[in-house]
Symmetry: C2
């Protein structure tokens, strides 16, 4: 379905578009923000897909990540999808902050209750990009990389491993690295996918990396704040599990895990390291500093 332009805003020499459309994956209206730089060294503009974390709309990262500054500087576009269907009217979808609305967990739900709407995996990696390609002819959706934060960091890693060849590179900020074995993953996978844990592993980066057989095996950049309570206290994130899984796999790229002292889980953490992630991705997107 075509997009409705809700707002067109100038920023950093380019344009930020706030769009909405009716999704056939989620059967709801979905919002998405797209930043298009004012210019790019490439004839068609490369794209970075940024997946947000629990509770976020497309606006949080758009307002607070400052990714657009580097997108404008280096010449790539950024796509900020929403994190779940909204207003699906499913009983229980608004009962907790870390499940349901704002927490689509980037899976295609198989449990009856959720399977009509909660299909954020197909939405983000297939429908949304296909539709955006029709809308933005200046953007090159065959030259795209992926990143994300927390739930979105997991979503970026899973999306990369599950779609060999689709993304040139992947990085993540404080990703839920081994969701099959943490409380957030157990809650969301259990509800959306059911109790068969082998189904969970099909979305778990720390399992997927072991069976990844794509030709494209770029280095994977990860930042994790050492003062992030979801990391050191709650063990929701476990990036070390991904590092260990990578060692136990044939994946040729390095997992570049940076545990940064003093940083928390917030957008102040994200904004502090988007420059590193932008510089990481442009190498793979054919851009330069």
């Amino acid at each position: 379905m075509s997009f409705k332009v809700e707002a067109e805003i100038s920023q950093f020499g380019g344009k930020l578009y706030k769009l909405s459309h009716e999704s056939t994956s989620t059967n709801t209206k979905m919002d998405v923000n797209v930043y298009v730089p004012g210019s790019s060294p490439k004839t068609k503009i490369p794209v970075l897909l940024y997946l947000s974390g629990l509770t976020c709309t497309p606006n949080n990262a758009t307002e607070k990540s400052f990714l657009q500054y580097f997108a404008g500087k280096y010449g790539f576009a950024v796509v900020f999808p929403d994190t779940s269907p909204r207003g699906a009217n499913i009983e229980g979808e608004d009962d907790s902050w870390d499940f349901g609305t704002g927490a689509g967990f980037y899976v295609d739900a198989t449990e009856d209750k959720w399977s009509k709407n909660y299909n954020m995996y197909s939405y983000v990696h297939k429908e949304l990009l296909t539709e955006l390609e029709k809308h933005f002819s200046a953007l090159d959706f065959s030259n795209i990389s992926i990143t994300g934060h927390s739930m979105g960091g997991y979503g970026a890693l899973a999306g990369f491993f599950k779609n060999p060849g689709q993304y040139k590179s992947v990085s993540a900020f404080a990703p839920i690295s081994n969701p099959s074995s943490c409380p957030w993953g157990e809650k969301n996978f259990g509800n959306y996918l059911g109790s068969d844990k082998s189904k969970w592993e099909e979305y778990d980066p720390s399992h997927l990396i072991k069976k990844y057989a794509g030709a494209n095996q770029p280095d994977i950049l990860i930042h994790q704040g050492a003062a992030d309570p979801f990391y050191f206290r709650d063990h929701q994130l476990q990036p070390e599990n991904l590092v260990a899984a990578a060692k136990d796999s044939n994946y040729k790229g390095k997992v570049l895990l940076n545990v940064v002292e003093g940083y928390d889980h917030s957008y102040f953490f994200i904004s502090s390291f988007v420059e590193d992630h932008a510089k990481h991705h442009i190498k793979y997107l054919g851009l330069s500093e």
Copy 2:
């Protein structure tokens, strides 16, 4: 009064402090955010005072301006004060979004109803800086510049002209440049200062520049979005009036007014030009790119 540290957050290699204190100027508790860079080329760290616009708390600019990126890069601190007393319990203070709470208008109120609390001029330019100097011994409050947005842009310009020698340089984003003759200024000056318009001129940049006699006469950098409805539709901002007043004055610095096509009044506009403003101020603060 000493500050209570409400939060200490890592960002861009430095620390963001969310502070509160009891103000003797406003007779209320006041919040203020201070960003301290991780390092600076100067032994004592220069300071930029950022005054926010109508409705804002210290958090809006802290989260959305992107100023801390350049503060961290060049080595200066940033002070983000609040825009009014809050909870003063004055009848009518919460009746409109552009007067009272969130709209202190950086004056010392003389009308009885407001004069006990609405003293943001003395608070921002005197009390707050004096108290912060005691708290942050690494910061150099004798090497300070000032900027701001909208009401805060006016506040920065007025504060610069009214305190010769206090600020090394001044800039503004979409400032209310001639508040004596626009609806926002008339409403706020009228309520806080009374009906004698000669009192209003004591805070009006387009009047103050004509009688400024300070030795320090730096260039004044201003950005104004051409698509800002408060500019082109409502005539609240009128930066051309300041340019005209400067021509009609002995002020030696240039008023560098940049009317930028397509930009609005939002933080997307501010964040797009904080780099230019940071580069403007560091010249006067003894820092370099």
